[in-house]
């Protein structure tokens, strides 16, 4: 009972503090914003722990953060091996290949309005399809190891990236293209000096979508067969053995790597497209 009351009281206090912070001058600054968001995150953890202890939830149903934390600390080698298998070998390799393929395709069809008109609606449609469904087929083709996971990721990220790149390359205004024409710029000069830089906001938009898809693809593909290492494998086996603390530990690693990957791309974006109105803000 004391845990429950404690958690709720903490919630109330933290919320009051956040309301005050958000209204104060601190809330306008970066530090203040981070503080408010962090406090909210901590509140959720405290509430979670309080509920688990207060209602005496058995750890086979929902372990509290105080159980998951030590599990992470003691299973670092296993978690690291899973991370390398799933994120580095599966997701990142697939992401790199898929990005390169989409880029090359976008440039290749750039000169053909016919192909663009044909591919864009199809690309848009395929982007909305549950491509993850290809996972079992690709596992059948490429085997259980990371190659099949990378293949799933390639297929998943390709179309959203292609659509964004083609749209981005079309995003220049008539005035800029006319200027290029008055200078007698060649096709490649126009591409590298005008259209590619102008396409960057679109390309990064696609990359951010692809970043979240990449991890989903790599993990789902492991549900259809994997060597005895990898985050998807760990989750499905530990759920079966009721080792839920390990499942949550893996989820924490997945969440952390997903956010870090996304954050990295967003950071590069803010460097590359510093000139875009959305980044100047």
């Amino acid at each position: 009972m004391i845990w429950l009351v404690g958690a709720v009281v903490f919630w109330g206090l933290a919320w009051a503090l956040n309301v005050w912070l958000a209204g104060s001058r601190m809330g306008q600054r970066r530090a203040g914003r981070i503080a408010v968001a962090t406090l909210f995150g901590v509140t959720i953890l405290v509430l979670w722990e309080g509920l688990v202890r207060g209602f005496a939830v058995p750890p086979v149903i929902l372990p509290g953060p105080s159980v998951i934390g030590p599990t992470i600390a003691t299973s670092l080698p296993v978690l690291w091996a899973d991370f390398v298998q799933t994120v580095v070998k599966g997701a990142l390799t697939g992401f790199a290949i898929g990005t390169a393929a989409a880029f090359v395709t976008a440039i290749a069809i750039d000169r053909s309005p016919f192909l663009q008109r044909g591919l864009l609606p199809i690309g848009n449609f395929v982007s909305a399809l549950p491509i993850v469904g290809l996972a079992p087929i690709l596992v059948m083709w490429f085997g259980f190891d990371w190659q099949s996971k990378a293949a799933v990721v390639v297929v998943m990220v390709f179309f959203p990236l292609l659509v964004n790149m083609v749209a981005g390359l079309q995003a220049t205004d008539r005035l800029s293209r006319d200027l290029m024409a008055t200078w007698s710029a060649s096709y490649w000069q126009g591409l590298f000096k005008l259209r590619l830089p102008a396409a960057m906001p679109f390309i990064f938009n696609g990359l951010k979508i692809a970043a979240t898809l990449a991890l989903i693809g790599a993990i789902v593909a492991e549900f259809f067969g994997s060597p005895i290492v990898g985050m998807g494998f760990r989750i499905s086996t530990e759920v079966g053995r009721l080792g839920l603390d390990m499942v949550w530990a893996t989820i924490a690693v997945a969440a952390l790597s997903g956010s870090a990957f996304y954050g990295l791309i967003a950071w590069i974006e803010s460097r590359v497209t510093f000139w875009h109105p959305s980044q100047r803000g």
């Binding site: 005035l175 006319d178 200027l179 024409a181 008055t182 200078w183 007698s184 510093f274 000139w275």
Partner: protein, 265 residues
């Protein structure tokens, strides 16, 4: 420069020029039977209501549009050939600067495309920035500058590669009157210093009269020239010349020309 004035070498020659756009509602005669000769060092303004073909004519000179009849030559070449010889500096109504390049970087852009040497690029950027009085802003980004300054930068960009013809399509149309007056004055100084041939599209009668050695009055449907007025004003023109009798007379004649164009409809 005095010589070029007296010998009057033709730079741009249009004879019986036609330009028809095919649209869904049928053909549109953007230009019909346009005859005009522009000499070296002229400052020619094109004025008329929208749809009279003034912008189309300017774009045809720069080979951005292709005439469907008649002839158009630039230094005896076709507009396309002249473009490949980098004969034009074009200034649009919007500055059209790249937001990801600094002011200096933007001015350097055509120089990179045309393959100037690195140190030559730097020297030219410094020179034209000085010409448009933006020297202190080389490393600013366009979005950090006011509209008037951006337009000055775009003029500097058009000047950077020393094209002999400067084509300006309502370059000051989006600016307020005070900024516009200043830029008009500066443009005249620039013209005097560089001796370039300038084609200038505008909606404003005072602007056309103040700037030009010749004023071409056009009217729409089909787009055609209704009057060409040679300005008797001296080349040296302070702003208050706009209160002189000569100025008011020419402005009057331009207005009459525009009205006559409308009366035919």
């Amino acid at each position: 420069m005095k010589d070029t004035l007296t010998t009057a070498q033709p730079v741009i020659e249009a004879k019986g020029l036609q330009l028809v756009f095919q649209t869904r509602d049928g053909p549109v005669h953007a230009l019909k039977d346009v005859n005009l000769t522009i000499n070296r060092g002229d400052f020619v303004s094109f004025i008329g209501p929208s749809g009279c073909g003034k912008t189309t004519f300017l774009r045809a000179i720069a080979a951005l549009e292709h005439p469907t009849g008649g002839s158009l030559t630039v230094n005896g070449l076709t507009p396309d050939e002249a473009r490949r010889k980098r004969a034009y500096g074009y200034v649009f109504q919007a500055a059209g600067l790249y937001p990801w390049r600094t002011i200096a970087g933007n001015i350097k852009l055509p120089l990179e495309i045309m393959g100037f040497a690195k140190d030559e690029q730097e020297a030219r950027v410094a020179r034209v920035l000085d010409l448009v009085e933006l020297s202190g802003f080389a490393n600013k980004f366009p979005w950090q500058l006011s509209g008037g300054m951006q337009q000055r930068a775009s003029i500097a960009r058009a000047l950077a590669f020393d094209a002999e013809i400067l084509l300006m399509d309502e370059p000051f149309g989006a600016l307020d009157e005070i900024v516009r007056d200043r830029l008009n004055e500066e443009l005249l100084k620039l013209w005097a210093r560089t001796g370039k041939t300038i084609g200038f599209v505008t909606h404003s009668i005072p602007e056309a009269v103040y700037l030009s050695t010749r004023i071409v009055v056009m009217s729409p449907r089909p787009g055609r020239i209704t009057d060409v007025i040679d300005s008797p004003l001296p080349r040296e023109r302070p702003l208050d010349i706009r209160d002189s009798k000569d100025f008011i007379e020419i402005a009057h004649r331009v207005r009459e020309g525009l009205r006559a164009g409308h009366a035919d409809e």
